[in-house]
């Protein structure tokens, strides 16, 4: 009887060991900390003033004390701005656009560089950034499938309760309209030049690009 009890207890301790290792691994990962380059360098590289960089960094550090944002946190933050629907897909594409080095985490420099382009860049730079966002596989061309994914992600953010009611083929129609406008030579893909040309022709887009100027 005692032998039976003994074997039972020893078996249990063996099972507990792997979980302890996992905890230690997790602890190690959270210890990784990243510090950005100096304030002057960032100021030189971006179009922000020192004060603006300070405000940005304070907010960034508060949310991500380790100095990097991973995709999960990114998605959570973005989801809070769009509580009606599901913002995770669009946040995923955004994250890939922010994460220029494809490391899986966004450091403060990447963050600030992208913001600098989006808020203080020229029209050309902004459009180029947008093209990069739409080009999911980063091959230099936008095809209909990529556009479909992006548009679907945007519509996902609207959620279920919209007016008028969202129909199944609404994203597809939207994509068709877009391609009609952008694809000059009707070859089914949009290149950077076509994109830039079409957008600059459209006054609305150019005007809207100025909208977010005073975000800071």
């Amino acid at each position: 009887m005692g032998a039976v009890m003994g074997t039972f207890s020893s078996l249990q301790t063996k099972q507990r060991r792997p979980s302890k290792d996992k905890i230690e691994d997790e602890l190690e990962m959270t210890m990784v900390c990243h510090r950005p380059e100096g304030l002057e360098q960032l100021e030189a590289q971006t179009n922000f003033t020192k004060r603006e960089l300070q405000v940005l960094y304070r907010g960034f550090k508060n949310e991500c004390p380790s100095g990097v944002v991973n995709e999960e946190t990114f998605k959570q933050i973005y989801a809070q701005f769009f509580p009606h629907g599901d913002a995770s897909t669009y946040a995923h594409y955004l994250f890939n656009a922010f994460d220029t080095t494809q490391t899986g985490s966004v450091k403060f420099e990447d963050f600030v560089t992208a913001l600098s382009i989006l808020l203080r860049g020229t029209v050309h730079e902004k459009l180029r950034w947008t093209f990069n966002l739409y080009d999911i596989n980063k091959d230099g061309y936008i095809n209909k499938e990529e556009m479909m994914d992006i548009v679907k992600a945007i519509y996902d953010m609207m959620g279920k309760y919209t007016y008028p009611v969202l129909k199944e083929d609404t994203p597809r129609q939207h994509v068709d309209v877009f391609f009609q406008k952008m694809d000059k030579n009707k070859d089914g893909i949009v290149t950077l030049d076509e994109f830039l040309e079409s957008c600059q022709e459209d006054d609305n887009i150019v005007r809207s690009l100025q909208l977010f100027q005073n975000v800071m």
């Binding site: 907010g59 973005y78 009606h84 947008t130 008028p164 009611v165 887009i205 005073n214 975000v215």
Partner: protein, 651 residues
Amino acid sequence: MAAGVATWLPFARAAAVGWLPLAQQPLPPAPGVKASRGDEVLVVNVSGRRFETWKNTLDRYPDTLLGSSEKEFFYDADSGEYFFDRDPDMFRHVLNFYRTGRLHCPRQECIQAFDEELAFYGLVPELVGDCCLEEYRDRKKENAERLAEDEEAEQAGDGPALPAGSSLRQRLWRAFENPHTSTAALVFYYVTGFFIAVSVIANVVETIPCRGPARRPPREQPCGDRFPTAFFCMDTACVLIFTGEYLLRLFAAPSRCRFLRSVMSLIDVVAILPYYIGLFVPKNDDVSGAFVTLRVFRVFRIFKFSRHSQGLRILGYTLKSCASELGFLLFSLTMAIIIFATVMFYAEKGTSKTNFTSIPAAFWYTIVTMTTLGYGDMVPSTIAGKIFGSICSLSGVLVIALPVPVIVSNFSRIYHQNQRADKRRAQQKVRLARIRLAKSGTTNAFLQYKQNGGLEDSSSGDGQALCIRNRSAFEQQHHHLLHCLEKTTCHEFTDELTFSEAMGAVSLGGRTSRSTSVSSQPVGPSSLLSSCCPRRAKRRAIRLANSTASVSRGSMQELDTLAGLRRSPVPQSRSSLNAKPHDSLDLNCDSRDFVAAIISIPTPPANTPDESQPSSPGGGGGGGGRASSTLRNSSVDTPCLLPETVKISSL
């Protein structure tokens, strides 16, 4: 919104650049935020202790006192700080919530004082962080229970009031369940208790041998046989009372089926049945054996005491809840008994005249030895038998002594845990619901804002300042962001109600009554569309309510919208909001051909995407039942293929 999210708003707004090429309508202009002040340090003076923090920190939670404009009430212009006449120690925790996003509960403070501070600063207790939540809950519950006990002690005299006009049944049931409510119930309670005791004692006494009067030869017989009539009368009386009580309970029970199935009623039945069976069974020897067995069941009357004793009930409940542990104990004991009985049997097999005649016979020896009783009626005689016998007794101690404390501690742990788990589960649902409610506040904030007609051109003047409640810079920008998303997708955010109505309309072909929806959201969508799409002609279907309903229920607001589209003066403040954007609308509308056809049948809105304008307020008000027919304007560029619908009721 959670901590720090406000600081990510610039990024979210910047990321909206990605929607621009897709937008089919021009995006609304950005709010003119006077955010050029940048970030400043605020001083909060709480009873003399100064706390300094960034303004942004406080702005993170706009629905609290410090995050909203409510703090302006506490602003002291002379000293330039916000003064609160509250406890500074508690304020530390409140401020830390803004800084870190987690609300911690101070361990040395009174829980009620903490609650009061939270209520003052506009923080919901559900915001207490997970690390401190359990303790907070426990302390609060303790407090509440203590207060409740005090209150109960005060009100000990008066019982719960019975609703007037309750039937005899309900009164009777209450009397049975709470004997303290009335004197009669109390008397009944004690009388039944007395008779249960009498019956049990009679059962016991009638088996005692009493020496009868001198008889030749003096025979000892149990008292029951000596005084059969006396005992029979007593038994009859008890059974009559029990039967009466059972029948009364059955009559008064609110749910008879449930009562019949309950444990107490089963005990009652088992207690009184033997008597009745005994009455009808003839007294012959064949059946008397069974009859005698039945009398054993009379002892179950003692369980009727559990109605009178709280402790018995608790014991029964804990036994029930520890059934698995007891089962395990029984199982391991059975295993051990079988093993040792087998061993002992084969060890003692060779001996002659041995008690260990079979393995089941050896069970008795094993049980007696393992529980260290050691009656000595069966003893092993071989050496092997003695060795195994001693091993049996030693392991018996282990097998029994080990699980029993575990079971005992399980009793108390499981018992308390069960109580607490149920309560926590119930609280968790409430807690999640409340958090969801708080979150939906932000979701609905945008819809509310739209309903209040806030999406007008910001330069339309002071008229709107009164209508739109004061919003922080963060809120303005966030709403602008959501507005941009709407424009990009040509769809609007709505709430569940309107959505379900819209679904209903689509499915039923527009025959549903639209009047409720029309009156609920007249200003928002229409003004939205008119202000945002002046240059692009979109198809608008004018969906109408049932004609009669709309006529009767046409609100002034709807009339406004209609009139506003035509720039005719309407005596309401809202029209000033509509005025400016509609100017641009009219300008652009002139270049199009708009024809409003009048059809008497309300057409399904989904199938009639069209653009039309009511011809004039007078004409438009010509009666209900107008729907515009489908019409296409060939010269119009219609990139937006989605049918936009404007709810305007023409009166």
